[in-house]
Symmetry: C2
Subunit: 295 residues, 2 copies
């Protein structure tokens, strides 16, 4: 076996904070690609960690983050965005010089600010990322080796990041089967306020308004497939979406105000019986929606 040794994985030790759907699927995909030697899991729930261990998502349950991080190649923080700062503060004291840290948060400006506060002059080791792979289920049991296949992952590199660090994070996501893009943190937050955060807010708002009515049962009885699809995202996690809305409230307020102006305009058309205007708005929307679906 002089030359018969298996190819060395690209990553030696990886730490994952949060071994649920997002972190767990990342670990499974890297393992399937033979791209990691050891995965150490951290989390708030012993049950989740034990489940992830039993499912082969992680190789060990970590005890002391500051102790483990010294010789880790990569750290993935896959926790709620509000918890990212605390986790980074816990690993900061032991952070090795070669360790690269990344995250999976749905918002980026706030995460970057928290990372700057926690990591200080080591901020260059933190490469922010957002895998776009929402799912209705959560937890380690929902993790899937193919969750990221064909999905987009947005990196929002910082001026302080060495190119090599960004390349390593990109390589990890490419190994998971993802299509990697780059945006600035601010642009990321503006884009996702429009195409994700606002739709969630609007969907929650519609169902909330119906749910508080005395005759809600009558209303829900006649809701059909259009309602089902429009409100599917209103079944999302309240705490997670509270945190996203608060974290990205600046960009979200801009989008919400644009949208309210759009509704004001439609209200005028409705109240004045302006069918031409309604049809124009609907036709532009339909055409854009169909073009998007086919792209």
């Amino acid at each position: 076996m002089s030359r018969g040794e298996a190819a060395r994985p690209a990553f030696g030790k990886i730490l994952i904070f949060g071994v649920g759907l997002i972190g767990g699927s990342f670990a499974l995909a890297l393992k399937a690609a033979a791209d990691v030697a050891e995965v150490v899991g951290f989390g708030r729930s012993a049950d989740s960690l034990n489940e992830a261990l039993a499912l082969g998502i992680i190789d060990r349950i970590g005890i002391d983050p500051a102790l483990e991080v010294g010789d880790a190649d990569l750290v993935l923080v896959a926790a709620p965005v509000g918890a990212t700062g605390d986790i980074l503060a816990r690993i900061a004291p032991g952070l090795g010089p070669r360790t690269i840290v990344t995250d999976a948060g749905s918002t980026k400006s706030d995460v970057v600010a928290a990372a700057r506060a926690a990591l200080g002059e080591r901020i260059g080791q933190f490469v922010p990322a957002h895998p776009i792979a929402g799912a209705e289920n959560s937890g380690a049991a929902a993790a899937r080796v193919d969750l990221y296949r064909g999905r987009k992952v947005v990196l929002t590199p910082l001026a302080e990041n060495p190119v090599a660090a960004v390349d390593r994070v990109r390589a990890a996501w490419v190994a998971c089967g993802a299509e990697v893009r780059e945006l600035s943190p601010q642009r990321h937050d503006e884009v996702f306020a429009a195409v994700s955060h606002l739709p969630h807010l609007l969907s929650f708002a519609l169902v909330h308004d119906l749910a508080l009515r005395d005759e809600r049962d009558t209303f829900f009885t006649y809701a059909a497939s259009g309602f089902r699809d429009f409100t599917r995202i209103a079944a999302s996690h309240p705490e997670m979406w509270r945190d996203i809305c608060l974290a990205n409230h600046e960009a979200l307020l801009v989008e919400l105000d644009r949208y309210r102006a759009e509704l004001d305009d439609l209200r005028v058309a409705l109240a004045s019986g302006d069918g031409e205007r309604l049809q124009q708005v609907f036709a532009v929307a339909r055409s854009a929606r169909r073009a998007w679906q086919q792209s």
Copy 2:
């Protein structure tokens, strides 16, 4: 064969105005239930009528509505709501005393008003109905024998309708496999403004706002599954939805204003960082959405 004749179908001759998805599926289902002797089709497009004939949806293409309606048992108007009045005016002169007329419109108060104007003292022969079976495809080729199986059909009977007439229309929809409910026309329009018309308006509005931006491609690039579901109904027919919005503008304005107040409330919570309020709204919505899905 002294007693061997087949059971007589419940309906002899049926006229269908609009032989697309809605009217065509109704004809196919009644034929499959052996509940109709002859289906005569009318429509604006000769191509559609020929296609419906070739597909066995109708038995003949009708020439003169006033002439055919005298001995018809049932007339279904499955045309855009804005065209219902004209069609009823054309059949009114020849309407037989036993003929029952019904429709498939998404709005009811306006259709009833148009029917009163067109039918005058014969309004009792018109039983308004709304099958809740939207679909993304349209046209005769999209018609399916099982479109109405397990779907709801709302009858909105008039004070002038004989019970027997309502029963006949109910029987036809039951033969199609539908679950038949009853609401007043006004209540129908209020309910559907909330659970169908408003969501369509909101979905059109979101996509319209994105479609007009210079950087729309960047936005659409990052839109994912939540956006896909939220905006599926923004690919609906602009003319059909213009007509529905105009026809039901009173109830829709009430719903739109409730919704705008809901957004105003959420805006205050967002701008003031009131996470508790956001979480409360989201949690109520999630709980109601999940209860609905399971019911």
